[in-house]
Every structure is written in C-alpha cells, then in structure tokens.
C-alpha cells in the first residue's frame, strides 16, 4: 500500500512536469489503468449446451472488437461446439437464429479447451499459480495497472457453478481466488459477470476491494435461453448474455458509455430473471466507469515531440 501511495504521488508530481507532453491527459479520466485483461469461461460441455459456448464466444468477439488483444484474453471453452459432429455448420458457432454472424470467425484463440477447462485450471489462471512450463499466452499476466474482466457461463445453482458435468466451483473459491489476485496486485479493478442460474449468489462471497460484479438472476431463479435455431436444433444463446451483447454492439472503442448505463438497460421482463449488480466493493461511482475501462484496449498513448 505504501508503495502504491508512493508511486501515485510520484505519478501526480510527474504529471505536472513541464517536459512531458501527454496527449489525452489520463488524470482527467477516472480509471487508473494502462491495460485490460479478460478471462472468459464457458464451463459446460455437450452439444445441448451450445448456447454456453456461444455466450462465451460472443463475449470474446466483443472484447476483441473493443480492443483487448488476444494475448490478453484467456478463453476457456469446455467443449468444441464448432467441430461437434452434430453441427450442421461445421467450424461455425452462431448466437442468433438467423445465423447472421459466425462467432468462430477467422481468427480465434482458445486457450483452454475441452478437458483443460477445470476448476483447478481456472483457479490457477486467476491466481497465477501455473507450472513454469505453461506458455505466456495461457497465463493471466496482469499487474497493478490492469483492469480485469471475468466472464463465466454454465450451469449453476446456489453458490456454485458446474464445470464439465463433474465438478463445481463455489462462490467461496472464486472469492478467495480474487483475494489472492488482490494480495499480489494482479488487478487495479475487476469486473465480474456471470450468466447462470442463481448467478447473483456467485458474487455474494466476494470480499476483496475494487470488484464490480453483475449476474443474470437472483437466488432461486433460473436463467433462460433466448432462442432456438431450427437448423442448429438447440438454443443458441442465453437471454441475459444476448441482451448484454446487444447493448455492447452499440459501443465502440472510444465510447463513453458507463456501467450505470449498461445496468440501467437490464430489463427483467425481457431477460426473464432479475439481474443483479454488486458495487459495494467498488470505489468509483458507476456513472463514471466506462464500459471500455474493462472491455476496451490500451488506456492511452503518449506522443512526445522527439525528445522523450
């Protein structure tokens, strides 16, 4: 903490320095970060859970479109819907009944696939406790200047989320993992989003600072799928994620839209469940938190006239 304070003071002092011409003075902006990371998890396998793969891939496409580089995205897909033998459109995953947009696209980097998606691996990625042989692109290499976005989807219940049909992660596990991140200064701010049944129970145990959390449904409520595609034969996306992604489509890299706007857009009637928001651990007012603070790319660039 002392170090952070020290750095902050040094930074404040240096911002006043007359030698540095910083384009886009970032102190006028609210977030104090330089890079963004995203961990996107689809925890269920099997063809009939197609929609969970589509949820995660839809989110992947959005964060990538908004500027988070692939090297900063950890994508975990518990099954491979694109190459499933039941897929009438091999190599493609669609999130809408008209099959307008192929989420698999041309350039996709799945970091953990199939049986690699386990509770243990998820916790290892979050806490950084990976074997030294694990390559860079499978690691969450965030630091005290990173804003981290964690998105999870799958089948869940009161205070747990099922992984792979044979194990569960509990709300305590995630809370402890985030605390370990915080203790090692692995995030500046963290945005947690979860789409599963009784999702809001999953963030109820968090206790680390600077976490903003949102979920699709409250205790004893199910989260429902959005629509079926007759040719694919299964539901293609969940309602909550569908509406969040729909909202994100209007956001571009330089949008000023805030988290408060996103949360105000939640419509329990359309979503068919009560999405929740938890902001008591978060220190900034939500109307000043831009969506791109978490889902965007580089926070700022510095132009200098020749002599740095």
């Amino acid at each position: 903490m002392r170090l952070l304070l020290f750095l902050l003071v040094v930074a404040l002092v240096s911002a006043a320095s007359q030698h540095e011409e910083v384009v886009g003075d970032f102190f006028s902006r609210s977030s104090n970060h330089t890079n963004n990371w995203a961990v996107l998890v689809c925890s269920s396998r099997y063809w009939f859970n197609y929609r969970h793969m589509a949820n995660a891939l839809g989110m992947y496409r959005t964060v990538k479109r908004l500027g988070i580089p692939d090297s900063n995205i950890i994508l975990m897909l518990a099954d491979d819907a694109a190459c499933n033998s039941r897929n009438r459109f091999p190599g493609s995953v669609y999130a809408n009944p008209g099959r307008l947009l192929d989420l698999y696209g041309e350039n996709i980097e799945v970091d953990y696939r199939g049986y690699d998606v386990t509770v243990e691996n998820f916790i290892r990625v979050i806490t950084g406790r990976l074997d030294s042989s694990v390559p860079r692109n499978k690691r969450l290499l965030s630091d005290a200047h990173s804003n981290v976005f964690v998105y999870m989807t799958g089948h869940g219940g009161n205070e747990f989320l099922k992984f792979q049909d044979n194990e569960e992660i509990s709300a305590w596990d995630i809370a402890d993992a985030f605390e370990q991140m915080w203790q090692k200064r692995r995030y500046n701010e963290l945005f947690f989003m979860i789409d599963t049944c009784q999702a809001n129970t999953m963030y109820s145990k968090f206790y680390s600072p600077n976490i903003l959390a949102t979920g699709s449904s409250k205790l004893d409520q199910s989260s429902f799928s959005y629509e079926n595609d007759a040719d694919i034969g299964v539901s293609v996306i969940d309602r909550y994620t569908h509406y969040v992604l729909e909202y994100m489509e209007n956001i571009n890299k330089t949008s000023q839209t805030s988290m408060a706007d996103l949360f105000a857009f939640y419509d329990p009637v359309k979503i068919a469940s009560d999405p929740g928001v938890r902001s008591d651990l978060f220190r900034r007012p939500l109307d000043q938190v831009r969506i791109t603070d978490f889902l965007g790319g580089v926070a700022r660039a510095e132009v200098s006239d020749d002599d740095l």
């Binding site: 020290f6 902050l8 384009v23 290892r124 860079r136 660039a301 132009v303 200098s304």
Partner: protein, 487 residues
C-alpha cells in the same frame, strides 16, 4: 432369553461345537475388524490432511515494518556553501517527504568515494559520471538544490514504466501496411542499428536487466480502423493511437519464453496512405511521428520520402532513417525502463549514454520498489495462509520465503555504498517472494462446506460402519450377560 439348548437325538451337529462358531473365534474376528479400522485412522488422517508448514511470520512482519534507507553524500567544492545547501535540501525533503522517502542526504566539503561532487563552473551546468558543474554562488544555491532534486529524485510517470523484471525481451518489428500497394521497405540493417544505438544502453543497464532481442519484417499489417483523410495524406487522432496496434492480425513477438516483452514497431503506411500524420486533440497534424504505449512499447511511423520511392519500389530502410529511428527507440526504451531525463538546463557531458546520476536514481528507485514489493508479497503470503485454512504450504514455499527474507536482510547488511549490491539483493528478494507466492503447490483445496463432507463420506462409511457397530454392541451385551450369569 434362555440360553441356546441343542435338541437331543438329532443328526445335526451342535453349532456351538463348530470351531468357527466358537464364541471366542467370532469375537476375535469382530475385534480384528475394529483393530484394522482403528489402526488405519492415523493413515486416513495423515493422507487427508494438508501439509501446512509454519512460515516465519514474525520475521516477515518485522521485515515489512523496516524502511530501506539509502544515504546520498554530496561533496561541494565551495566549503562556505555546504551549510546553506544542506538547509535548502532539507527544506525540500520536508516539503515532499514521500518523494524523498528513504533517502538521507548529507552535504560535505570533502570528496569521498561513492559520493557525488559538485564543482564550480561559471558558464555551464554539466552532469557527467557522478559530477556536476554549477555556478556556485550564494544566490544560486536554491537553484542548485532544485537541480539536485531533479537529478536525485527525478519525477517519473509511473504508469509508463514497465514493471521490474531481471530479463526483458525486446521485439523489433518493421511493418509494411500493405506491400501489395506498391512501394515497400523490405529489410533493415538491424544488427548494425542495435550495436550502434542500443548496445551502449544494454551495457549501461546491465546491472539491472538482461535483454534478449528478436526482430522481424512483415509485409501485410492492416490497421483495424480507417485513419482520417486529410487534404494531404491521412491522420491518426489521439483515440486512434490507443487502438493503433492491431493485435488481432499482427503477430508481434514469439512466445518462446515467459520474460516480459517490450515492443518496438516501425510502421510504413501503405503507398496510398502517405504521409501519415499524428493529429493533436484539435485534429491538426503535428510534427511528431512516434508515440509510446505505456508499459508496452514504442511505435514510429515512417513515411518514406517521395524521392526514394522514385528510385526503387522495393528497398531496405535507408541508413539515415535507420539512425533516426533507432536513436528514438533508444529513448523510448529508456523511458519504458524508468530512466529519467536530466533536468532542464543540465547538459550531458557525453551524449547518448546515461550519466551516473541517472543510473543511480534508477537503481535507488528500483531497489525501493523491489524491496517494498518483496516485503509486501511475503506479508500477503502469510496473511493468505492464515486466512485460507486449506491452503497447503510445502517445503519449497517455506524455503523461498526464508531465502527471500535472507535477501532482504542482506540489503540492510550490504555495504552502504554499493547500490548495485542493494539492487541485486532486492531483485533477488522479489523474485523469490514472487516464486513462493506463485508456487503451483500453494493451490488451496476447493472449499467444501461441512454438509458436503457428510454427503461425500456417508454413503461410503455408513454402510460399512453400521453393521460393525451393531455386531460390536451385540457381542458386548452378550459378554456382559454371560459375566452376570456366571456363577
């Protein structure tokens, strides 16, 4: 119930005469089950408990309470001004204690080795290795104190500086936006450019970092956005700069190692989009052609001059451009690594390489950062282990924690003058503390509420233990009855 009486005159044998129905045998068999069960308890306990070695928490806490202090000795040529300068510096330290945190500055009249010297020169203010020339007069002492502040505790943008690592990889990439559009830069003499411009920096910073260099040339590097069209050429707005790097389509560095990477890009706009300007916030073109992405790297936009294009549509980067680009890369590298520039008005005696003042300021800064982060990490480990009850602590974690503490102790023990040794120990302490924190064995077992444990153990044990208990109770009751009825 009357004791069992075998009916006389029957062909069947009396069961109590069978050896395996003998009372003592039956009881021995039942007892054997219990002996095995009880004997296995310690094994079950041992195999299901988590190894949690104790950590030296009191040492960690006392270490965290310590503040690293580094002395700075300044020798002033003019003896009469010593006191005055000391006062001025003390005043500045009081005004901004956080900036001067951990530094003890003393001004002396005589030179000792390891200290900084200030000598009189009426005409020039020049910083060389650890020397500074300054017009020494009573009236210039406050200005001297300001200059010294700028040299000893330079102001830095902490968001720009990359997190300390003992090893970095530098990835140099020459990107042609679209070689198919015509005019292409197809190569560069990068080894010469590196040895001319960057090797001196690598040497100067060898105490702090090891560098690995990789380079590549790419011929198709599309932008993910369309730059604004100007009356002549195109322009990049400040917002465009933040999304300039098209990481989805540019492969900028290999991922062969886990060392952090700093990227340096030369971007050659497609022949149809030249010249490419960087616009200011009002949308007017500026003369700047380079920018920095904090903690990530530097980018230079190279617009080939029109006369070159006429010569050959396919050519390497001309030497003059290479020189300008790499001297700029050198500056960007220094900025990313946290080397401060000399304060305004101070000249460098030998251009290009950093002075001892700058290097020392960086060493001190990194030593403070590393020591504080190491102590903080150790504290976090102790705190987390206490907080999360099923987090294992193995021998290797304890070993790393102890080694890290030893390294921290050595910082305080190391000879005061040797900044290099202080930095090495602090870096060591940080590396070990981080390794302990990130030890793969420290993964806490997943949380199981008590009811989960019952749910897991019940089907397994209930079916085995209930018959055992029932027979034991029955046998004990029978034995007690026998004892009571015995004459």
């Amino acid at each position: 119930m009357p004791p069992h009486v075998h009916p006389p005159n029957t062909a069947l044998r009396d069961p109590s005469s069978l050896f395996y129905q003998k009372e003592s045998n039956r009881r021995l068999i039942i007892a054997a089950y219990w002996v095995v069960l009880i004997a296995a308890l310690p094994i079950w306990w041992k195999t299901t408990s988590i190894e949690r070695l104790s950590l030296p928490s009191s040492r960690v806490n006392s270490q965290a309470a310590k503040q690293l202090r580094l002395p700075i000795e300044i020798a002033l040529e003019d003896v009469s001004l010593v006191k005055h300068l000391q006062q001025e510096l003390d005043q500045r330290r009081e005004q901004s204690p956080l900036v001067w945190n951990g530094l003890d500055v003393t001004v002396q009249s005589k030179t000792e080795n390891g200290s900084y010297t200030i000598v009189h020169d009426d005409n020039r203010v020049v910083a060389s290795e650890r020397r500074l020339t300054f017009p020494l007069r009573k009236t210039t002492v406050p200005a001297l104190a300001d200059t010294l502040t700028g040299l000893l505790v330079p102001r830095l943008n902490s968001h720009r500086v990359a997190h300390y690592a003992p090893r970095y990889r530098l990835a140099f990439t020459l990107l042609n936006e679209d070689a198919a559009a015509g005019d292409t830069i197809n190569g560069w003499d990068i080894s010469k450019a590196i040895s001319d411009h960057l090797s001196p920096i690598f040497d100067a910073l060898s105490v702090l970092h090891n560098f690995t260099v990789e380079s590549q040339v790419q011929f198709h590097a599309p932008l993910a956005f369309s730059p604004r069209t100007l009356s002549e050429g195109v322009g990049l707005t400040p917002e465009d700069l933040t999304v300039f790097v098209n990481s989805a389509e540019w492969t900028l560095s290999s991922s062969v190692s886990n060392d952090p990477v700093l990227h340096f890009l030369v971007f050659v706009p497609s022949a149809t989009r030249r010249p490419m300007y960087i616009l200011n916030s009002q949308g007017e073109p500026t003369s700047a052609n380079s920018f920095l992405l904090p903690q990530w790297g530097g980018i230079i936009i190279y617009n080939p001059p029109a006369e070159d294009t006429l010569q050959s549509p396919m050519r390497p980067l001309p030497p003059t451009a290479l020189n300008t680009i790499f001297s700029k890369f050198g500056k960007q590298l220094l900025a990313l690594l946290g080397v401060a520039r000399l304060p305004a008005g101070v000249d460098n005696s030998h251009t290009g390489i950093l002075t001892g003042w700058q290097l020392d300021a960086l060493l001190r800064r990194r030593a403070f950062e590393n020591a504080a982060e190491a102590a903080e990490t150790l504290q976090s480990i102790v705190k987390l282990v206490n907080q999360i009850e099923n987090m294992p602590v193995g021998q290797d974690v304890r070993g790393d924690v102890q080694d890290s503490l030893d390294a921290l102790d050595r910082i305080y023990a190391s000879p005061i003058k040797s900044l290099n040794a202080t930095l090495q120990h602090s870096a060591n302490a940080l590396t070990l503390a981080s390794r302990a924190f990130f030890n793969p064995g420290m993964l806490a077992l997943l949380y199981f509420p008590t009811e989960h444990k019952f749910a897991v153990y019940m089907p397994l044990f209930a079916s085995a233990v209930i018959p055992l208990l029932a027979t034991a109770v029955r046998e004990i009751a029978a034995w007690r009855r026998q004892r009571r009825e015995a004459p």
